[in-house]
């Protein structure tokens, strides 16, 4: 039955936890607040240790709050992170996304910094600053950095943050046995799409959308074990989805995966979503990591990484690359469908479209098509934001319909 305007605006017939107000995806005030309340103090994957393998190797990363960061390995082989902002006149210090720099020198006025973030040279310092300012006053802004959980380099902008281990808690326990061997990034690309970052994380948090993927319907949904996969919720808004055996050979042109992954059953698939926007996705022979970098309420950049094992033979690596990109590359079968779907949400849900609610109401005993993963995320989101996701502006708490207010 179609709805009139009041019925369209009426709150869904679900508990408060089972739907959200779509303005949480479109409102600029909420977006700005999310940066401060969610991203500023969260541990975020900046890169993988294999991207900075040697002393003085560096990698740039745009933090979801917008802060440009340098991740650099020192001569002591410790990985540190700093703002990529010169303390002199605010210029960018390093421009190329990766490289090797024994000293990091700002091109503007040639101030130089070491891998510990110390300023080691101010050009013509004595002449200009006499004894009023010296290199000891000009260090870089250090950012908390830890390497762990599969060799990823994590950063946190909050000096008073908890440890990475505390932040992750038990969320990655299911994957830990499969991340004991050194890994290596073989794939990286960014996608910039018109959608909200949470809609991407939502898609990674529910498998009901397997209906969009012909590949997953054939190799997963129609196979035994698919509906046994269960969600587990963890503290801090993280959640996991248990494994099943993917029947790759059910898709024409595909075949059983030749290389596996240490400890993972053949055709296995484990997915773990980390608040507020990272996903570990271990599927048979490759590990994929998504990191969201929100650019606006309806603009998102996602960093995609694909990883194999450092010890791979060239043949094994080639297999992993093929397995990864057949599904998850920029021309892969599934990634395009997922991105198309969230762009469709962005198109239907940006400011002014009169989208009202998004329903997270499926309950199937926490199995694969249950929407508990998203509900768990929004419970954490609401707590940290101090706004209920179903009523972020406190308008309709006591009212049956917002339109009636």
């Amino acid at each position: 039955m179609v709805k009139n305007s009041a019925e369209w605006a009426a709150r869904p017939k679900f508990p408060d936890s089972h739907f959200v107000d779509s303005r949480i995806y479109t409102d600029q005030v909420i977006f700005d607040e999310e940066k401060a309340k969610l991203f500023q103090g969260s541990w975020i994957v900046a890169c993988h240790e294999s991207e900075v393998p040697g002393a003085f190797d560096y990698r740039l990363f745009t933090h979801p709050t917008g802060v440009p960061l340098i991740v650099v390995r020192g001569e002591d082989m410790i990985v540190r992170s700093f703002y990529n902002i010169c303390p002199h006149r605010g210029n960018t210090i390093l421009y190329d996304p990766a490289g090797n720099a024994k000293r990091m020198t700002c091109i503007f006025h040639a101030w130089s910094f070491d891998t510990h973030g110390n300023c080691i040279d101010i050009s013509r310092a004595d002449q200009g600053y006499q004894n009023r300012f010296c290199k000891e006053d000009a260090g870089l802004r250090a950012v908390k950095a830890e390497t762990g959980f599969g060799g990823f380099v994590w950063v946190n902008l909050d000096d008073a943050c908890c440890t990475l281990k505390e932040y992750i808690g038990p969320a990655l326990d299911m994957l830990e046995p499969h991340m004991q061997e050194p890994m290596e990034v073989f794939h990286f690309h960014k996608a910039i799409v018109d959608t909200n970052y949470k809609l991407w994380h939502d898609t990674n948090s529910e498998f009901y959308h397997d209906f969009v993927h012909y590949f997953n319907r054939i190799t997963g949904m129609m196979q035994p074990g698919y509906f046994d996969r269960k969600y587990t919720a963890y503290p801090n808004g993280h959640a996991s989805v248990g494994s099943m055996e993917i029947k790759y050979d059910a898709y024409a042109g595909s075949k059983k995966r030749a290389v596996g992954w240490p400890g993972l059953a053949p055709g296995g698939w484990i997915l773990i979503d980390l608040f507020p926007g990272m996903t570990y996705n271990l599927r048979t022979s490759v590990l994929r990591i998504d990191t969201v970098i929100p650019l606006g309420p309806n603009k998102l950049m996602i960093e995609f990484r694909g990883l194999g094992l450092k010890r791979d033979t060239p043949e094994e690596r080639a297999e992993r690359i093929f397995d990864h990109n057949t599904i998850w590359g920029p021309f892969g079968r599934n990634l395009h469908e997922d991105l198309l779907a969230v762009c469709g949400q962005g198109r239907a849900m940006h400011e002014g479209t009169d989208s009202r609610w998004v329903i997270h109401g499926r309950e199937e005993n926490s199995t694969i098509h249950d929407e508990v993963g998203m509900r768990h995320f929004y419970a954490e989101w609401s707590k940290r934001m101090g706004r209920p996701a179903f009523d972020p502006f406190g308008e309709g708490r006591l009212l049956p319909a917002r339109a009636a207010a």
Binding site: P97, K190, A191, A252, F322, G329, H336, L340
Partner: protein, 151 residues
């Protein structure tokens, strides 16, 4: 038609076939040993990447499966310019600049989708030149939602 002209026309006809989703026609231009790949270098991880890699049968299956997938239906328009042709015996190595434009179905606005190069190996032995190997070397690496049809 001289040999260089024939080679250039093969490159251009391959663009027309893909633009028009004439996949059968495209595969007819390919040798039985045809191999297609899309590659790019990532300055971020400082590595070469292979994004797609299929033999002729694999390409055929990819094309056959296309209607079963949900895809962006905005048409792509490939513009190639053959830069160099090096003929050695029964093969030619061809480098062509490639620009790909995407046109929105609604309203028809056209935007640049990607730039790169075709590195083609062309077999000359048969009555007409045939594609033996095509490497699409991408310069563009950020393509929004990506695409299901090879470039």
């Amino acid at each position: 038609m001289d040999q260089r002209h024939q080679i250039e026309e093969l490159v251009y006809r391959s663009c027309l076939a893909l633009d028009g989703h004439d996949f059968k026609g495209f595969l007819e231009m390919c040798d039985e040993d045809f191999r297609y790949s899309i590659a790019a270098f990532s300055p971020e991880i400082r590595k070469d990447m292979t994004w797609l890699d299929y033999d002729k049968a694999g390409m055929d299956t990819l094309f056959t499966n296309l209607p079963r997938h949900n895809s962006d239906h905005s048409p792509l328009t490939r513009h190639a310019t053959v830069y160099t042709v090096q003929i050695e015996g029964e093969q030619a190595e061809v480098v062509a600049a490639l620009q790909v434009f995407r046109t929105a179905l609604d309203g028809g606005g056209t935007t640049l989708f990607a730039v790169g190069r075709y590195h083609d190996t062309i077999a000359l032995g048969a009555s007409a030149p045939r594609l033996l190997r095509r490497v699409v070397r991408m310069v563009t690496r950020e393509m929004g939602a990506g695409y299901h049809v090879p470039l």
